[in-house]
Each structure stands twice: as C-alpha cells, then as structure tokens.
Amino acid sequence: MTTTALEHELKEMIIETLELEDVTPADIDPDEPLFVEGLGLDSIDALELGLALQKRYGITLESDAESSRQHFANLRSLAALVEARRVS
C-alpha cells in the first residue's frame, strides 16, 4: 500500500512533535502499532499527539479511552480520523 500525502504529513508531525531524533518518515510503517509495540510511543506521547491534532487540525478528542485507542492504533487510523474530523 502506498503512503498518502496526509499520512506523510502525519509522520512528519509525529517525528517533530515527539522529538523522535533517530526516526525518519520511512521508519514509520502505516500499519504497525504506534504505541507500546511498533514505534513504541508511550502515554505522554499520546497526550502530546492529542494536543498536536488540536493545534494543527482543530480536532478535539473525546475523553473516551476506547475510541482514542482506535484512532491512535496506527498511522492509517490516525489519518482516517484527521480526514473525517479536520476543521480546516
């Protein structure tokens, strides 16, 4: 599967926001988990990412753990969230 422009944009946002100094966009597999496994992000990263989504796309996540878990599962689900909910 190819990477869409939005997915690439999100990869760059993740790397920049979370200061992933040793990671390049090519290292992030869109289908691999972002948290714990795969990229190995943690709970503070989740909060940081939520803030970045709010700043850049105007998306406010509901404080519902289950839906956040689905949105943050991997890069594709994150892109789907931004596609569906972005304000601008």
Binding site: L18, L20, D42, I44
Partner: protein, 229 residues
C-alpha cells in the same frame, strides 16, 4: 560524624579543557548513549550527561541517588509560565520533564535503579545540602551512594535575575570506607567564608585539583580533599 570518601567521579562541561582527564567529558553535546533513544529524546543536554555519568559510575544500578540543581530545567519551567500567560495549551511532555526530579526519573527508568532518589535545590547551597544528605544516608547504614550536581544557564530573559550558571554537571560515588584510590573528604567550619555560591563547575575544578578548598558561604563550611593515607 561518619567520614566521607570520594571513591570515583565523572564530570561534564563544555567550559573546561579535560587536559587528558578521562573522567571529564567536554563535548558540547553529551552522547547520552547509556539511555535508549526513546527515553533520550526527552532529555536536555545536562540530562544526557547526568544519565551517562550515573550509569558509568554504577553499572549495577544499585546505589541511592542524591541529585541537586539550583535552577533545574529553567528552560522548560519558566517558558511554560509564558505559555500559560499567552493562553496556550501546555505540552504534556515538557510539563512532565520540568519537575526537579525529572532527570533522575528518566535515569531510573533506563537503568532499572529502584533505590531511593532525592532531588534537592538550595538557593546556592546545593553542595552543602548534598553533603548533609549524604552524611545522613551514610550514617544510617548505607555504605556507598551517588551524588550528582548539575546546572545550566537560565533562559536569556531571566538572566538578569539569577546568577549565571554555566552548563556543568558532576557525579561522585561517596563511601564510608577508604580504599585504594579514594580521597578523604574533610569538612570544617568556615565562619568567614564568603564569595560566590558553589556551582558544579567549582566542584569539577576542585576534583581536578585546579582550585583550593570548596567553601559554601551560605552553610559556613569548607570541604577539602585529602589523599586517603
């Protein structure tokens, strides 16, 4: 009072010449290689240096850690106040790393050291406070422990309100028993002591025998290093 001995030490500062002293790292950006990259990304320069030094001094990660800093992470702490004032949301990661025990917290996660850890700030009497705390731990049955003292400049817009603290950090293993190579840390009263508050750079100079005794004007005490005869 329990006698203290300096068993080993490490230092970091880009403001001195190591002159062949392998214990002193003078790189502008400490490697931080003792810490996995996913943890290292959250550390500032001094954090990288401190973690590397602690792991080098205590590879088994079994010693208590006393950590002192006058300003802590002024960059993150003070700049967050401006963000609040501007009505901007706070970065959770920066908030988490702004607390005074943040660096030793990251060190604990990376090294697996689950021993007691303490973070100290003492308005310029950090070295005296560290020694008093160390004395307490060592008198209470602990045989060896790690003490670390680090500071960096405060953000430019606060520079007029705080003493200049050049980037430097120093970590020592203190023990209660002399051994080959240890140096006795003698303390004496210094009622006349005056001058500037002690900084990590002073402690590095002292360990490298580039200056005389360390005097803390606030605590009225002086520390001298003597070979363990």
């Amino acid at each position: 009072m329990t006698e203290l001995f300096v068993e080993e030490w490490r230092g970091w500062t880009p403001h001195r010449d190591a002159a062949g002293e392998a214990r002193l790292d003078t790189s502008a950006k400490p490697a931080g290689t003792a810490i996995p990259s996913m943890l290292r990304r959250r550390l500032n320069l001094i954090g990288r240096a401190v973690c590397d030094m602690l792991i080098a001094l205590d590879p088994a990660a079994k010693l208590d850690v006393l950590h002192a800093s006058r300003h802590g992470d002024g960059e993150r702490t003070l700049e967050m106040l401006y963000a609040i004032d501007a009505g901007e949301p706070l970065s959770p990661a920066r908030f988490g790393l702004s607390v005074h025990n943040a660096i030793i917290g990251v060190y604990s996660i990376a090294s697996g050291n689950r021993r007691s850890q303490q973070a100290v700030a003492a308005s310029g009497a950090e070295w005296a406070a560290l020694m008093a705390e160390a004395q307490g731990y060592l008198s209470d049955g602990t045989e060896r422990l790690l003490v670390v003292f680090g500071d960096q400049p405060v953000p430019a817009r606060f520079a007029d309100f705080a003493p200049h603290t050049p980037a430097a950090a120093v970590a020592l293993v203190l023990s209660t028993t002399p051994a080959p190579g240890t140096r006795r840390l003698a303390v004496s009263a210094a009622p006349e002591a005056d001058g500037e508050a002690l900084q990590p750079l002073d402690v590095i100079d002292w360990l490298m025998q580039r200056r005389g005794p360390l005097s803390c004007p606030l605590a009225g005490r002086t520390w001298t290093l003597a070979p363990d005869a």
